[in-house]
């Protein structure tokens, strides 16, 4: 990449630690209409934007694996419950995965670029790849990029029937970032690369972390950490092992957990400035593996 991608601000709203939404969405009518994931997503975006002292963003790019689950189920249920009669359109309107990106644009009156990606475990990575491309194409712009997913009672129950919780714990969350291609005093981290891998049968049983890192061409000649969020067993060199943190122990399993991973990585770089590089390796269930590389810019 020719231009550096700086993380200016970041925010996280987690299912287990929701803020008082009144503070961020004061209008009680608007708040009541919103499902929980919309409130989580919009609030997370607002926190990231409030901390950003620069000019208005030039793009709003989001990723979600499951979309607005609760509204989707609510509308589906009403179809059967009411035998297709006199249905309330609210939950249909809010079931579309671009609802949160659209709500943010509506609140801000922001007419800029606005896209939502919905591709399972690489939804947030897709949003990042779009953002990074745009930051290469245009000078001096900032983008709001985020990932979010909600765990509904039904989703948790269905994944339980599928046996997912035998190896993982349920998670949910909404993380947003203001990123740009101009360095500013608020920066601590830059994104070096985002890679999504082709599904590969040889990777399906044991993931070889060293070979993944080799494949993306990263050199580990400084102090580093690996945030690992892959359900599968992995192999690593003994030397590497002590630097690995299983971040899904903190945030749980959901398709856009890598957005939490990126948020967490920024926190580590702030608190432990001697660390130069963090590699976030993620796999949701048996889907594509992604690797996000973040650098400490003071290094």
């Amino acid at each position: 990449m020719e231009k550096k991608i700086y993380i200016n601000t970041r925010a996280s709203v987690e299912g287990c630690n929701e803020p008082d939404y009144k503070e961020f969405i004061p209008d009680p009518v608007a708040r009541r209409r919103m499902s929980r994931i919309i409130k989580m997503g919009v609030t997370s975006a607002f926190i990231a934007l409030n901390e950003w002292k620069g000019k208005a963003v030039d793009g709003i790019i989001t990723g979600t694996g499951w979309g607005c689950l609760a509204d989707t189920e609510k509308f589906l249920n009403s179809i059967y419950e009411n035998d297709e009669r006199l249905l309330n359109p609210s939950s249909f309107i809010q079931s579309t995965p671009n609802t949160i990106g659209a709500q943010i644009a509506l609140f801000l009156g922001s007419k800029c670029y606005n896209v939502s990606y919905v591709h399972g475990g690489i939804s947030f990575e897709s949003a990042l790849i779009d953002s990074i491309s745009m930051l290469q194409e245009q000078d001096n712009i900032t983008l709001l990029v985020g990932g979010f997913d909600e765990m509904s009672a039904t989703k948790e129950h269905i994944l339980d029937r599928m046996g997912v919780w035998r190896k993982a714990k349920p998670g949910e969350g909404a993380q947003f970032f203001v990123i740009g291609n101009t360095e500013c005093y608020q920066n601590t981290a830059e994104i070096e690369s985002v890679t999504t891998f082709t599904e590969n049968s040889e990777l399906s049983d044991t993931v070889d972390i060293s070979s993944l890192i080799d494949r993306i061409g990263v050199t580990l000649d400084e102090e580093y950490r690996i945030l690992c969020g892959i359900g599968n067993p992995y192999s690593s060199t003994e030397n590497m092992g002590k630097n690995i943190i299983d971040y899904k122990q903190i945030c749980g399993e959901y398709p856009t957990a890598s957005a939490f991973g990126l948020w967490h990585a920024c926190g580590i770089l702030e608190e432990e400035p001697h660390i130069g590089k963090i590699i976030i390796i993620t796999r949701h269930l048996r889907e594509r593996i992604s690797v996000i590389v973040v650098n400490n810019i003071s290094k």
Partner: protein, 404 residues
């Protein structure tokens, strides 16, 4: 920085007009629409739709897929059209060495995903939580159909799915073009697919924007849209990679948000205006360079007034010939931009301007008149194609003729 030029070397489409470019072209030229009563599933609503006249079993046979496996209709329609596009561009015939020398991606768009199959699960599950076949849910996620198409084509060096309601496929094509331009990929199959489902029929019915009769885009008597289903894909590639034909090139694109209402468009068509304006700017063209506009034109009173107002803001009294092809296919939602990109590229290549079916009377509030009868043998240089969606998402693409 040197950017790659992006050309289109393959087209694939399946709609109510038929399977493949040939059947669609025949229907377009003979002004024969595909809107008819819904037969795919039972519903209490009296609706006419643009159904693809093939059962899931027939599509499984055509594609020689493993029988007994569950495929959502969205996946099946997407497979049909994406395979046609890939074959058309000649990429199905690559040997292993040729294939591994290229970075080929698939960027798709869908709004309903595997909802048709999930509905089967949920019908049983809601009554008894231990019921419902879990394998019916494996295709539910929007990304699942994209993964199946990518695997089938062996076009999976990068795979992603856009879901911005009815503007989705245009955004998928735009991302594909940008990734090629930047050198991240060499070839991208891009477009969208959506099947009809009980979920969307009831959703649009609850919003009160379905017309019981055939839709009449831009007509004063218009009373709503007809839902359709289908898929449309284009093969985008770097112009310097060998190719045996080209339908056109991508000259410009832009995405903007109306930021007015979750489902309604602003009366001045701000989002549509900004998308068209941005696409013109990115192409370096003037409004007078555009030979034809393939409008979003859904047939709802709100969309067509808003889009008409935006067209006047862009083109003034020099409005080029424009039409909506939704009267042929119905509104294929996330696939619309893919289907209509194929129609726009056919216009460029063969010199046709498609008629806007069922138009009689100019709208009382916005004075724009679409093309009523087929225009042929017209030399077209640039076609502008609009797709707008819920959430204020508006995306415009501009295609230009290419003789390389």
């Amino acid at each position: 920085m040197m950017y790659n030029d992006v050309i289109i070397t393959g087209l694939g489409v399946v709609t109510a007009l038929g399977k493949g470019v040939g059947e669609n072209l025949d229907a377009l030229v003979s002004s024969k629409g595909g809107i008819a009563p819904l037969t795919l599933f039972a519903t209490n609503h009296e609706v006419v739709v643009g159904e693809v006249r093939m059962s899931n079993e027939q599509i499984v046979d055509i594609l020689s897929l493993t029988k007994g496996k569950i495929y959502s209709r969205t996946t099946l329609l997407g497979l049909l059209a994406a395979k046609d596009a890939y074959d058309d561009a000649g990429y199905s015939e690559l040997n292993q060495k040729e294939r591994s020398a290229l970075k080929i991606g698939l960027i798709s768009a869908t709004s309903v995903g595997g909802m048709d199959v999930s509905e089967n699960f949920y019908k049983e599950y809601r009554i008894d939580k231990s019921k419902g076949k879990l394998r019916d849910l494996l295709g539910h996620d929007c990304g699942a159909s994209t993964e199946k198409i990518a695997a089938y084509l062996n076009a999976d060096d990068f795979v992603s799915t856009v879901s911005t309601a009815c503007s989705s496929a245009n955004n998928a094509i735009m991302l594909g073009a940008r990734m090629i331009k930047l050198g991240l990929l060499d070839v991208v199959v891009a477009g969208g697919t959506d099947s009809l489902s009980r979920f969307t029929v009831n959703g649009f019915h609850s919003l009160g924007i379905l017309d019981k009769n055939r839709c009449r885009p831009f007509d004063d008597s218009r009373a709503g849209l007809n839902l359709g289903e289908g898929a449309g894909y284009v093969v985008l590639q770097r112009s310097d990679i060998p190719h045996h034909k080209a339908y056109g090139k991508i000259c410009g694109y832009a995405n903007a948000n109306d930021a007015f209402h979750q489902t309604a468009s602003s009366s001045q068509g701000e989002g549509a205006y900004l998308a068209m304006h941005g696409a013109l700017r990115s192409s370096g063209l003037n409004p007078r360079d555009i030979s034809y506009v393939n409008a979003h034109g859904t047939g709802t009173p709100n969309n067509d007034s808003s889009e008409g107002a935006a067209l006047i803001r862009i083109f003034g009294d020099k409005l080029p010939p424009f039409s909506s092809t939704k009267g042929y296919t119905g509104h294929t939602l996330a696939a619309a931009g893919g289907v209509e990109s194929v129609f726009s590229l056919l216009s460029l290549k063969y010199g046709y301007i498609w008629p806007n079916l069922h138009f009689n009377t100019e709208m009382s509030d916005v004075a724009v008149v679409p093309v009523k009868d087929l225009i042929s043998d017209r030399s077209l240089n640039f076609v502008l194609e609009n797709s707008f969606g819920f959430g204020g998402n508006c995306t415009t693409l501009i295609y230009g003729s290419y003789n390389g």
